[in-house]
Symmetry: D3
Subunit: 317 residues, 6 copies
C-alpha cells in the first residue's frame, strides 16, 4: 500500500509538492521531465515588506499537500514526470535587473527542452522574465489571481518592480491582454492600473465576487482565456490576510481559499501550460498557513497542467 | 446578579467550560453528575504534527465561553449537573495500546454510573475506546465533523492510530455506519477512506457545502442519524486553518466556525448522548483561537446534550 | 505622479491613515481642519484581556491603507483637511473616571471648533464621553458594529466599563435608541443586554446575517438611522477572531471583513458625522492583521464622513 | 517509585508548583496548611504594558518545576503542608484601591490563621497590602530583587501604583528600610528613588554585580537583613529581558536566572517568612520562559521558607 | 572566490551544515564518505513536550552556519568527505521499540562501512541505539552536555524513554561510565540519577560551572575521557532556555552558548569518533535560535571529528 | 515633577529616544540642533535575511528608554538640543547605489550645518555613505561593535553591500584603520576579513572577551582610538541572538547587553562625534527585545556624544 511506503511528512529535506529532488536536472537537459518545479527566491522587486526570498523554502517545508487531489481525481506528481529542480541560479543579491536576466535564461532553457514548469517565488516581478521565456513565440492568455493588477508603470526609476510585470509583458508582446483575466483585485492602488482596462484585460474585484458568485466568475474567466494556451499566476495576496498573512502587501477583504479552490477546479480543461505561486513571505506567517495555502494552490495548478489538452503533445512545451 | 458573583475570567486554574473542578469524582462514583467533562491528553496516535496532548489544558485556559448560549437559550453547565472531572488517568506516555485501554476503562466507569460525558482530546484515536465504552449495548449513530473520514486501516503496524477509529468502531459493532454522517471532508487521503462509502456512511465534503447550503447539510445529517442515540465527534481540523491553525493535520479550504455553529444549532432535538472535541495542538495556535473555537463547540455539544430527548431519563446514560 | 512622491510606507513615524501629524492642533484651535484623527490609548474599562491602550500606536504602524478607496472613489485624507492630532491628553493611568472626563473635554473642544473627528481606541468605554461631547445638543443616531451590545448596567461598582456605554448614552440623552442599530452581536452575554431591546434599538446578531444577506442588513440599518446625524462605532471584535485576533473579548463566529466592507460602502450617503474604531489589543495580534482591519475600517468611516450630506456645512460639527 | 505515580506534567488543570488545589481553604480557616500559595491576578497599578493579571494562570501552566530542589536538597511542597488556594477574591476590575483592600484582607486572614504564604502576581503594587498584613506587628526586613526600587511617590493622583509600594510600606511602618536590600536595579528612573537612599535601604545596581561578584552580593544582603524575619519580593523584571521578556516594564542589562538562583541558594538559613513573585505578563512571553523562571523562583523562595529557622514554631506566621 | 560561488543561504532545500544531499548514500554503501550527517526525526521517547521529530528539518533550515570555524581554523565539510544522507528510514510512527531497532540497524550499517556519523535528533532516546551500534566492540567514552543525566530506569513500562539511555548503554556494555562526563546538569530529577554516581560518571552541575570556570571544566572533562574513543552527545536543553527555548524539557539556569563553544574548542585533540545533537523541538522556538545553536554545535562536533587523532586511520570507523 | 508631565510611554507616534519630532528640520537648515536623530530605512545591502528597512520604526516604537542614564548621570535628550528629524529621503526602493547617494547627501547637509547625528538603520551598508559625509576632512577613528568585521570586498558585482563598508571607508580615506577597533567578531566569514588585519585594525573576537575581561577590552579600545574624533558604529548582531534575535545575519555566541553597556560607559570621555545603530530586523524579533536593546544603545551613544570633549565647540560638527 502506498501509504505505508511513503516517507513521513516531516522526514528529509522538504521539496516542492514532495516531488523528487533533482538539483542536477539542468545539467541533464531536463530530458526526462514533463514539469519542472522551480524556486525563485528573489524579492528585490517589492515596494513594502520584503522577505519572499524565503518563499520557496517555506513552501518546501509544508509537510502534507497532495499527492492526491480528490476533486480532480488526480495524482499529478505521479501521473507526470515531475521533479523539484531546485532554485534558479541567481547571480546577484543586489541587482533586480541581473536577477531578471538569470530568471529569463533559466526558464528559456527549460522551455527549450520542451519541459513545462511551475514556479514558486519570490515576488511577483519574477513573472515578467518567465512570461518572456514562455511567450516569445506567441502571446499567452493568463488567469491572474491577485489583490493587485500589477500593471503600473515605471516606479522610482525601476522598470521591473513587482507592481508592473503585466504591463511590460503586454508591451513586450508575450501576454495577450484580451485573453487575460484578473481576479481578486482590491486595495488603494486602483488609479495605477488604468493599463489593465485600456489594454482590454477583464478585472474582477474581490468585492464583486459576492454578487457574481463563484460559478459566474469561473464562466467569465473561461470565456476570456478561451481555448489557447493559458498561464496561471497566483499571488498569495489575493487571499484574505486571515488565511494568508505571510505576504508583503496584504489587503483587507480578500478571497477565501475555498473560493480559489473552487475556481481552480472550475478551470479544469483549459490549456494551462505553466504557472506560478508568488509573494509568500514567511516572516509574517506565524502559523505557516500562508505557505500551506501556496502549496495547495501549486498542486491545483499542477492538476490543471496535468489535465491540459496539450499536455504530452509534441508542442506541449 | 450573576455577573457580579462570577469569578473573573482569568482567575484561578481554568476548567473545561468554567465548570466546577471535581478531581475526586471517580472516587465518588460520579454519583451526582449528569455530564462529566473529561480531558484526554494523549497524542500517540498522530501521523504528522504531535502536540494535542496539551489540548485539554489549552481548552481549559480559554477565559470566556458560555455559560449562556443565546440561540439555544440554554445555560447547560447550570441546567445540568456538570463538572470538569480532570483527565483520564493514563498509565503510559509510550504505549498507544495502553492508553486506549485506560481510556476505555475510564469511560466505561462513567457510563456504568449512568453519567454522560463530553471529552476533550487528545488526538482522534481516543474516540475509538470511547465509542467502545458507550456503544457496547447497541451501535450508536454519529455526527462526525472533520477534514478526514478517519476510516483507514492498519498503518505502519498500528491498529489504533488517529486515521482509522471509525473503521474499527464499525467493525467492533459500536458504531452504526448507516446512521453516521461525516461533514467537512477534504484533503489528499480520499483513497484511504473507501470504508466510509462501502459501509454506508454519508460523506459531505467541504467543497460540497457551498452548493448544498447549510440548511440542506443539516437536513441530510438529521435524516441520516434519525431519532436514535447520536454521538457528536468534532475534530477541530474540520475548521479552516485560518480559524483553527493549532492542529496536527491541517487541510486548506475548511469549514468556518459560523457554518459549524449553524449546524450545531440545527441539530437541536437530536438525541445527542455524548461527544468529543479533538485534535487541538496549542503549539501551532499562535493566537489561542483554535482552543477558543474548540471550547465554543464543546459548549454547543453540551447544549445538544441538555436538549436531548433522553436526557434525564432513567436510561439516559 | 503621486506614487513617486509619497514617502515609503515604512518611513518615518506612522500616523493614523498616513495623515499629516499635527500634535499642536489643539493649541491652534483646530482652526484649519475638517476632521481630526485622534488616538485614545485607554483601556481601564475592560473586563477581560487588557492591552488596547496600545491600539492607537498599532493602527498608526500599519504601512499601507489608503489613501484611495476605490469603491467610494474617494481620497478622503486629501479631499478633506485631515490630520492626526495625536492622542487625547489623559491625566491618570489609574482612574477610569478621570480618563472619561479628559476624553469628554477633548472631544468637546474639537466639536466646539466645528471640527469632526474619527477616534481610535482604546476600549469601547471611550465612546460614552465622546457621545456626550457630540450629542449634547440632540441625541445622535448610531450604527454600532460589535460582537456585544454594550448596554449592560453598573458592574463591580463601575459605571463606565466597556460593557455599558450605550445604556448610559441613552440615559444621558445623547444617543437615540430608536435610531440605533447594533450589528454582529453574539456570545454569552445576551442576558445583560435587555436594555437594547427595551429602549428600542435594532439588534442584528451575527448568526442572522447569513439568512438576511448583507444587502438586507444594509437596508435595515439605513431604515433605522434615517436622514439625521449618525455616529459609526466600530468594535473590532465584531469581526471574527480569525481576521482580528488582537482584541480583549473575542467571540467565535463573527463577521468577515468583506461583509463589513460591503456594509460600510452600503452606508454611503448617510449623514455620518463622526466615528470610532475601538478594542484593538496588539498583544494578541501575532500578524498585525487586526490593526490592519482597524485601519481599513477607519478609512471607510472617513469616506462616509467625506460623503455625508452635512460635511462642509456651517453646522457640520 | 514517585516518578511513576505523579500525574503527567501536562495533565489536569495546572496549579502553582503543582501543589494540591484547595479552593475551599479560606472557608476551612486554612487550618491544616503551613504555606498557602496564592494568586493575585491584578494589574491596575501598572504604568506601561499591562497584562500581569494573567500572571498567576501563566505560572500555573508551567509543566515542570520541582518538586525537588537539588541544591537545597528539599522537597518543600511535600515537606510542608502546602496548597494552591486559588486567587484572592477581588471585587472590582476597575478600582486599584478596592483591590488593595481585598488583598490586604485576604492576607490578613491567612496570617491570622498562623499560615504563611507565597504570592504570585499581578503587578508589584500588590506587595504593599501584603506587607501591611504581614508587618503590622513589627516592620519586616526584605530582600527585593527588581530592576526598579519601587520607592517613588504619588503619581498621576495614585498612591498605590506599582512604582511606589516600598516607600509607603516604610511610611506605614511595616517595612524596615535599614533591613532592606534592593538588587538588580537599573533603568531610567533612578531620580525617582531617592527615598531608597534617604531611608537607608541598600541598593545594588545590576551593573555593580559584575564587579562585586555574586558571593559578595549574597554576603551584603545577609548582612543587611540579619537574623530577623525577612520577606522576599521577586520582580521578574530584575531578570534580563532575554530570559524573561514577558513583563510590563522591561529594562536592558538585567540579571541572569543563574545569578538569581545562586543568590536564592545563598540566602538559605535566613528567616524568610513569606514572599512573592510579580510582574509576569504572558502576552509578551512568546516562549513561556518568563513564567518558567517565575515558577522556579517561587520554588526557591518556598525552599527558603522551608529552611527558615522559625518555620514550624508557634509564632511562625 | 568561494564566497561568490556558494549558493545563497536561503536557496534550495536546506541540508545539515549545508553539506551535499545524498539520499542514495545507503544504497551506495556509504563508500566515499568520511562522515555521514543523519537526521533521526523520532520523538516517541519524550516525557513532556513532544515535537523534536521536526528537529532535523529545523536544523536543515538554518541559513548560515559554517563552513569555516575560525577558532579551529577548520572547514570540516570540505576537509572531509561529508554528506547529508537524509533521515534514518523509520518504519513506525507508533512504536518506540521499532524505531530503536531501525536506528540501530541504520547506524550499524554506517559503522560497518567504516564511516563515522553526526546525528541530529529527535529525542535523546536515539542515542542508545546509536551507542549500541558504535560501541559494540568496546565501550566508548562520552562527553555528555545536557540538563539531565538521562540515567534513570524503566518508566511507565518503557525501557527506551529519553530519560534513561545512558543507564542502559552502560548496562549493555557500550558506554564506559568511568570515561563519561556529564556537564550542565540541573533541574528537579536529581534523585532519579543515582546511577550516574554509582557507576562512576563525573557529573558537573550547571551551578558548579561559575565556581569552577570553563577552563577547569574542560580540564576535568579531558581527564575523564582520556585518549580513547569519545562520543559527544549534545542535548540542546543543556543551554539556558533564553538561548534555546525550542525543546521539550527546558530547565531554568542553563549554560550559555559561549560557554559550550569554549568547551567544544577546549576538547580539540580528543579522539571524537561521533556525536549527536538532540531535543530540538521547533514548535517552541519562536525565533529559530534553538535550531541555530544546534547547527553551530553540530559544526563544532564535526570540527572535533575532523581533528580527532584517529580520523582517516584504517580503524577510524 | 517631570514624571507627571511626560506623555505616557505608549502615547502618540513614537520617536527615536522619545525626542521631539521635527520632520521639517532639513528645510530649517537644522539650525537649532546639536544632534539630529535620523532613521535610514534601507536594507538593499543585505546578504541573507532582509527586513531592517523596518528598523527605524521598530526602534521608535520602544516605549521606555531614557531619558535618564544613571551611570552617565546624563539626560542627553534634554541637555542637548536633540530631535528626531525623520528618515533620510530615499528615492529608490530598487537601487542600492541611489540609496547610498541619497544617504551621503543627507548626512553631508547635516554635517554642513554643524550638526552631529545619531543614525538608526537599516543595514550596515549605510555607514559607508555616512562616513564619507563625516570623514571627508580627515579620517575618523571608530569603535565598531559587531559580529562581523564588514571589511570584505566586492561581492556578486556589488561594491556597497553590508559586508564591506569599512574596507571602502578606509580606501576612500574617511576611516583611519589604525584608530579602528572591532569588538565582538565571530562566525564563519573570518577569511573574508583579511583587510582588517592588513590595514591595521584591532580585532577583538567575542570568544576573547572572557579571557580579556571587559575592563581590558575598554582599555584596549581607548588606546586604539585615542583622543581624536571617534565614530561609534553598533551592529545589533554583535549581541547574542538570545538578546537580539531580530537581525539578518545572527551569529551564535555573542556579547551580552550588560557587557556592551559596560563598554559604552567605559568609553566616556572619548571624543565621540557621531554614531549609528544598525541591522535591526523586527520581523525576527518576536518579543521586541532587539529593538529595545538597539534603543538603549542609541541612548548610550548619545550620552557619549553629550560627554565628548568637542561637543559644543565651534568645530564640533
Ligand atoms: Mn502580484
Ligand atoms: Mn498582489
Ligand atoms: Mn479526525
Ligand atoms: Mn481530522
Ligand atoms: Mn464594544
Ligand atoms: Mn465588543
Ligand atoms: Mn517592581
Ligand atoms: Mn520592576
Ligand atoms: Mn538528554
Ligand atoms: Mn535534557
Ligand atoms: Mn555589520
Ligand atoms: Mn554584523
Amino acid at each position: 500500500r502506498d501509504g505505508e511506503n511513503r516517507a513521513w511528512p516531516f522526514m528529509n529535506p522538504g521539496t516542492l509538492l514532495d516531488a523528487p529532488y533533482r538539483p542536477d536536472a539542468a545539467r541533464a537537459g531536463y530530458a526526462d521531465l514533463d514539469v519542472a518545479l522551480v524556486g525563485v527566491p528573489m524579492d528585490l522587486g517589492v515596494t513594502n515588506r520584503n522577505g519572499s526570498r524565503f518563499g520557496p523554502r517555506a513552501v518546501r517545508n509544508i509537510e502534507r499537500v497532495g499527492p492526491y487531489e480528490h476533486v480532480f481525481k488526480a495524482l499529478p506528481v505521479h501521473e507526470l514526470r515531475v521533479a523539484d529542480i531546485g532554485d534558479v541560479p541567481l547571480q546577484s543579491r543586489f541587482s533586480l535587473e541581473q536577477c531578471h536576466a538569470d530568471i529569463e535564461a533559466c526558464f528559456m532553457a527549460i522551455a527549450d527542452a520542451g519541459v513545462r514548469h511551475l514556479a514558486v517565488g519570490g515576488d511577483h516581478s519574477i513573472t515578467l522574465p518567465i512570461l518572456k521565456a514562455l511567450g516569445r513565440d506567441r502571446p499567452l492568455g493568463m488567469i491572474h489571481i491577485d489583490a493587485h493588477c500589477d500593471t503600473s508603470g515605471e516606479f522610482e526609476g525601476a522598470k521591473f518592480h513587482h507592481g508592473g510585470p503585466f504591463r511590460r509583458a503586454v508591451l513586450d508582446g508575450v501576454l495577450d491582454p484580451e485573453r487575460t483575466v484578473q481576479i481578486g483585485i482590491r486595495g488603494a492602488a486602483e488609479w495605477l492600473w488604468e493599463f489593465s482596462y485600456e489594454s482590454g484585460m477583464r478585472v474582477i474585484h474581490a468585492e464583486e465576487v459576492d454578487a457574481l458568485g463563484i460559478p459566474e466568475v469561473i464562466r467569465q474567466a473561461r470565456e476570456v482565456v478561451g481555448d489557447g494556451p493559458v498561464y496561471v499566476s497566483f499571488d498569495i495576496d489575493s487571499i484574505d490576510p486571515a488565511f494568508a498573512p505571510g505576504t508583503g502587501t496584504p489587503e483587507v477583504g480578500g478571497l477565501t481559499p475555498r473560493e480559489v479552490l473552487a475556481m481552480m477546479r472550475g478551470f479544469a480543461g483549459l490549456d494551462v501550460i505553466g504557472g506560478d505561486v508568488v509573494e509568500v513571505a514567511p516572516q509574517y506567517d506565524a502559523t505557516s498557513n500562508t505557505a500551506h495555502v501556496a502549496a495547495q494552490m501549486a498542486l491545483e495548478i499542477l492538476c490543471l497542467m496535468a489535465r491540459a489538452p496539450s499536455m504530452g503533445q509534441p508542442s506541449g512545451g
